[in-house]
């Protein structure tokens, strides 16, 4: 070891099995042995927790002069010039006894059976218990030291010792993190996943994060994981911190806090997206009430290769569906909810049908009002689906009910729908139903609209400046729109709009100056009485009050020249350039002026 290293941390020199090793003073014998590559068997030890010395399997002999004594390597501190033997007859005998005792309690643990073979213990003289737990205490320590919850602890003494929750009742403090089960060397502790059925099919298909540290989407920029403060054990209890021990570059910082950052910008692109309509509003389709009725997003999770079922299309009972019904336009094109078309559903419904056909033998029924295959290659895809044998039923489904017991040969659910093409009412038995929920404006679109002084069209989506000629800008200069916050649209359209908006933004940045219309309002300072009536009237917040002069002043860059303040000013102190009172009065006079002599002639 170099001399500078020993300056900081005191090093000691010891001998293990005849080999000498130098190690920091506050280490354990086990660590020193590991440094030499000497294996010492352990049951209750892991590197990342305090040593416990419960199993005694790591017993070694310390030799100081003529004294030899047994110590546990995992928690025996090193000291200078001690001599350790990790294996000899005595140690072998002691370890064999420990294993035999443990086998007597839990003969069914493979780990112990393996150790028994190594130490010549084929059969325990103390019985053949099938307890399973070896009382290593890893689970109780991980719960206390790492997770910081302390939901389980050792209970009882001697042969009655066992791991238990307080009063053997269901723990109120357990957070179901599963750390105890993960650390258990014998598999005695099992985590029961009550989010899945007995067949292992998830009861829910969450579309949000399922772990406390996660990468939001595969397309995230920057693509880094974030910690969910609400569920992170480290953030909540101060325990765990396991992710930091695994992160080699040390990038995980638990001290980060949500903060508000003020950034000065000249232009803003709003792409706040959409939400889907609450399917619970549609009791007739049984969402949340009947099994195997999914929203399209949940079903998308089921189809996803990294989803909870690993892309298997399965029913709650673990079987493959015999038939799947996909119902379009839930809440869209509906007088009772949204009159507009959500635009993306037809195509993703077709995609889902294609994937169901690909992965199962199920019959697929599409219940549609109109098939809107509007984009490039979409109509061709629709025809491909017809060739694949997807059944198209033109008509909106009326309801989804459980099929009667006699009707369950083809499906346990019954979709009742009118087939407008054959003019008949039909009942289609299916096993699974997928509902295409309408896209609607974000719940806080009103707030966002107010914040940026942009208006919303009657459907609630943000209003563009012009539907054809300027679909990415808003009425407020410097505020642009992209994606489904402006209207329901699919990914290609969102990308196109966003690229357009980005180009518009760059245009202004590269030009370096802003052109404004000459039509503005202007406050005549001598006439302004400082009543501030105009301040709140301005839809653009362009009028500010000059405190020291006690007058209002119009900000030329923000004013759009609507003239609302001009008409409202009780002192007549604001003029609208291009539309002054005098000009308009003259126009009125001109409209009704008697033709002059010259004009008559």
């Amino acid at each position: 070891m170099s001399s500078e290293a020993s300056g900081d941390k005191k090093l000691v020199n010891l001998t293990i099995d005849g080999r000498s090793v130098e190690i920091e003073k506050n280490s354990t014998v086990l660590q020193a042995a590991h440094k030499l590559g000497i294996e010492i068997p352990t049951l209750c030890h892991v590197d990342w927790m305090e040593p416990y010395g419960a199993c005694r399997l790591c017993s070694v002999e310390v030799i100081k002069g003529k004294r030899r004594r047994l110590v546990t390597a995992c928690n025996y501190p090193v000291s200078d010039r001690i001599v350790i033997e990790t294996i000899n007859d005595r140690i072998r005998r002691v370890r064999a006894m420990i294993i035999e005792l443990l086998l007597g309690r839990s003969s069914n643990v493979p780990l112990l059976q393996e150790l028994g073979k190594q130490y010549g213990v084929e059969k325990s003289r103390f019985g053949e218990g099938t307890e399973g737990c070896i009382l290593c205490g890893l689970c109780t320590r991980v719960c206390d030291e790492i997770v910081g919850v302390g939901a389980i602890a050792m209970d009882g003494r001697g042969i009655k010792r066992r791991v238990a929750t307080p009063y053997d009742e269901e723990s109120k403090t357990c957070i179901a993190c599963g750390a105890c089960a993960a650390v258990c060397p014998t598999g005695y502790i099992k985590v029961i996943d009550d989010t899945r059925t007995e067949k292992g099919v998830p009861l829910e298909f969450p579309t949000g994060p399922t772990t406390s540290i996660y990468v939001k989407t595969l397309q995230s920029v920057p693509k880094v994981p974030v910690i969910d403060v609400e569920s992170c054990i480290k953030m909540q209890t101060g325990g765990c911190g396991v992710c930091a021990t695994y992160c080699e570059p040390g990038a995980i910082n638990y001290n980060q806090k949500p903060e508000e950052i003020e950034v000065d910008v000249g232009q803003i692109l709003i792409s706040t997206g959409f939400q889907t309509i609450d399917l619970k509003k549609f009791a007739q389709y049984g969402y949340g009430r009947l099994d195997n009725v999914y929203s399209a997003l949940e079903f998308e999770r089921m189809l996803n290769a990294t989803g909870p079922t690993g892309s298997q299309v399965v029913l709650k009972n673990g079987q493959e569906p015999r038939a799947v019904g996909i119902i379009h336009c839930i809440g869209s094109r509906d007088e009772n909810h949204h009159r507009y078309c959500s635009r993306v559903c037809c195509m993703y419904a077709l995609k889902m049908a294609h994937l169901i056909k690909d992965r199962t033998k199920a019959a697929v029924y599409q219940f549609y009002i109109d098939m809107r295959a509007f984009g490039k290659g979409y109509e061709e895809f629709y025809h491909r689906l017809l060739d694949e044998g997807v059944t198209m039923i033109r008509g909106k489904a009326a309801e989804v009910v459980e099929a009667g017991w006699g009707q369950r040969d083809e499906g346990v659910l019954l979709i009742r729908a009118e087939d407008t093409l054959i003019g008949k009412f039909r009942e289609i038995p299916v096993d699974m139903v997928v509902l295409c929920a309408a896209m609607e404006p974000q719940h806080d679109a009103d707030e966002v609209g107010r914040l940026f002084s942009i208006s919303r069209s009657p459907d609630g989506f943000f209003l563009e400046r012009h539907p054809k000629l300027d679909p990415t800008s808003t009425m407020t200069d410097g505020i642009y729109l992209a994606g489904a916050c402006q209207s329901p649209k699919d990914i290609p359209d969102s990308v196109a709009q966003a690229q357009g908006a980005a180009a518009r933004i760059l245009q202004l940045i590269s030009r370096g100056y802003v052109e404004v219309d000459p039509i503005r309002a202007e406050v005549v300072e001598e006439l302004c009485g400082g009543c501030r009536m105009c301040n709140n009237l301005c839809p653009y917040g362009a009028i500010e009050f000059v405190l020291d002069k006690k007058i209002s002043r119009v900000n030329d860059a923000l004013c759009k020249g609507c003239g609302t303040c001009v008409a409202a000013c009780p002192a007549g102190a604001i003029t609208g350039k291009g539309f002054t009172n005098a000009q308009i009065m003259a126009e009125i006079d001109g409209l009704f002026a008697k033709p002059t002599q010259g004009a008559k002639a």
Partner: protein
């Protein structure tokens, strides 16, 4: 010479003026009695403009803006709507029939709607007959043009 109603129209730049323009470019037929003054927004409408128009010789005044919620300036048309109710009451006090004033909403794509409204309003004014204001105009000198 038979009497023809003279009507002043105050149209907002973004919806109704463009709508009236569309009526023209669409070759729609409607009475030529309305003489249009363009405003940036109906929110700019000072009520005095209405009275001034009657004083200057108008038999009727029509103000037209964007549909509620569609205002280019977000809510200028609501401000006009509020004023319209007051204007009607003041007109009645001045001895001018409130029906001689009308507020309508016409969007930029509704040329036909503008044609229909102007025909209808012209008919209303025709029925009401010419406006006869008494000798000295009550409005004389009440307004300082800034």
């Amino acid at each position: 010479m038979s009497w023809e109603p003279k009507i002043a129209g105050f149209l907002c730049n973004w919806c109704s003026y463009t709508g009236a323009d569309l009526a023209g470019t669409s070759r729609l037929h409607y009475p030529p009695n309305i003489r249009v003054i363009r405003m940036m927004c109906t929110g700019r409408m000072d009520p005095v403009f209405v009275f001034k128009a009657f004083q200057a010789g108008a038999d009727g005044v029509i103000v037209s803006g964007c549909h509620p919620g569609d205002c280019h300036y977000q809510e200028g048309n609501f401000k006009m709507l509020r004023r319209a109710h007051l204007i009607k009451r003041v007109l009645a006090d001045l001895g001018i029939h409130p029906d001689r004033f009308r507020l309508t909403w016409v969007s930029a794509s509704e040329g036909d709607r503008w044609a229909r409204f102007s025909a209808d309003f012209t008919q209303t004014i025709r029925t009401l007959g010419p406006l006869k204001l008494t000798s000295d105009s009550i409005l004389e000198g009440t307004y300082n043009a800034a």
